[in-house]
Symmetry: C2
Subunit: 342 residues, 2 copies
């Protein structure tokens, strides 16, 4: 069913049908009723391509994912994020377009996306330090919002979690319990969020007058395997740490396993604090009983990004909107006072 057919059926012109359906005020009530009825009866849906071509807006939001997304972004993040953005998009009739690309072709992909007119705006994820994608998008004039931040430039929309502060707080939390040697098991430090987390960890050490020991700081892909091996390594050191900060839930699983294998009890002999933005696999709102986590919702970030992006698309040339969410600290039983030695 298309406009022409509908026009034939209703006996009014295509123009009027279009106007009636799009809510233009100058259409008489009688005509509008007639047209609406017919549209409903024949389940008329405007062809998106034609609409896009005529209006110049595609009503699509683009996400560019690296094919090796495993390395660049933990999958659960993506699902949560998209789900959060959903309601905002849906309300305004936007859809999501996902393009997969090789990590080293991202720049081209953005250019092509723009040239092909496939999307009205872009959500950029997993920024690195000084991420080149930002300058490319700015140059293209394609509206975009970054989930996260990229140290280096400043004038763009973003929604981020306060990673630095979260790790300052988490570190202090452990220091307050008497821990002096706190390990850091971090994500890959070419990603901006990991850099900030490390900064927070370091800053808290400085604030509290604690020495930093780089031999108990690790960073890599956030896998269970890495968590396991790192924790094993830590616990076999001559003077092992008494606590650890972990940058992801999945790594913490491995770490917990390693701790258990060494015969240590979590929260008694060894304390851990976990930060993870995507905890959707845990029941909503429940406090996970065995660990302390600084929690925040990626879903919330998704919603905010979507809102800002649609805004930016509709009225460009705005001041950059920059939102920094504070992580939520959920206290469970995986932390305890530092064990007494000597």
């Amino acid at each position: 069913m298309n406009l022409k057919e509908l026009s034939k059926i209703t006996g009014v012109s295509q123009t009027t049908v279009s106007r009636a359906l799009n809510g233009y005020p100058e259409v008489s009530e009688k005509t509008r009723a007639l047209v609406n009825a017919a549209a409903k009866q024949y389940n008329y849906q405007p062809n998106t391509k034609a609409q896009a071509l005529a209006t110049g807006k595609s009503k699509m939001i683009g996400y560019v994912l690296p094919k090796a997304s495993q390395n660049e972004m933990p999958n659960p993040i993506f699902g949560d994020f998209i789900a959060g953005a959903a309601q905002t998009y849906g309300k305004q009739g936007y859809d999501t377009n996902i393009t997969l690309t090789d990590s080293d072709t991202q720049a081209e992909t953005y250019r092509d996306l723009y040239a092909k007119g496939s999307v009205d705006g872009i959500i950029m994820q997993a920024p690195k330090e000084n991420d080149e994608r930002i300058s490319i998008l700015k140059k293209l004039g394609l509206p975009f919002v970054v989930h996260g931040r990229s140290t280096g430039s400043n004038d763009y929309h973003f929604v981020d979690v306060n990673n630095t502060h979260a790790f300052v707080r988490a570190t202090n939390f452990l220091v307050d319990l008497g821990h002096q040697r706190i390990a850091l098991i971090n994500g890959n430090e070419n990603l901006d969020f990991a850099i900030r987390r490390k900064h927070g960890y370091l800053q808290a050490h400085e604030d509290r007058g604690l020495n930093v020991d780089t031999t108990i700081m690790f960073s890599s892909e956030m896998t269970e395997e890495f968590g396991y091996h790192t924790m094993t390594k830590l616990l076999t050191m001559k003077s092992p740490p008494t606590a650890a900060l972990l940058s992801s839930y999945i790594m913490a699983i491995g770490a917990r396993r390693a701790i258990g294998e060494k015969g240590l009890r979590i929260g008694k002999d060894f304390s851990i604090v976990i930060h993870d933005d995507a905890l959707s696999y845990l029941p909503n709102g429940s406090t996970h009983p065995i660990f302390t986590a600084t929690r925040s919702s990626v879903g919330e970030a998704g919603r905010l990004c979507a809102e800002i992006l649609l805004d930016a698309i509709q009225k460009p040339e705005q001041q950059p909107r920059q939102i920094i969410l504070e992580a939520e600290l959920v206290v469970g039983s995986s932390t305890g006072p530092a064990p007494q030695h000597d």
Copy 2:
């Protein structure tokens, strides 16, 4: 940059430019070279909307996700699956369109997607038993491939894992080790795969002449929490099982925690076998050291679905292609002989 401009620049007609770019044979080599050079110079990319409108093909594959996707499909699955489908789509110039919808509006969403001409084909996920979406898609004549199967109808393309057989094997594996009471911790049994897994579990019991005890069979959302509570419940029974089959990795994490809290050693006092299709967060190809898992790759399924779908789009009216992948059995250390009693 568009065709008209390019035509002006090169001095040949729009038609010829189009033909040259699309590889039509009747274009002279000289003209083609000229056009190609100009296209490259100005980074010409055909406008997808216009192309879609003119050809009637959108070059888009649709995925419809329920907004509450948390409940319907574990997020990691989706990421892995998409990543797998990527290379196939990419090669043929297809993009991915994601529409989010309320679970109870899926039918409408398919209709609208069709009416709006947004997609050329659809990948359907997480089928239930007798899933109504299948008949809707068939009625619409929109090409589709199901990831999974839906007992009830038979004439459609699908790619599935042999869930039944995987659970037969997993059960036998434990029985061979001497286990007689094996718990089943399954996903929600309105989903087709969970039904099949249960069937496999039951069938193996029958084959081996073992009694089935429905009080050690559980099914629900596949969360860590559910795994934890269920395992806790199991271990406090008067005559607890000595082993369990777990339908997802994330549930197993909770179960492992419960086992640990009871002071039992995994693989010694209690054995577990895990089945999970999406294990991308574990290092590629490595054997997870603490459990036995029947592994299979969702990525592979994604690739296959994509291939079949593109095929179906290009030459409709084919025999349904139905692929059933065998799960891979990876043996780790979380299983051991049944402990001796009496």
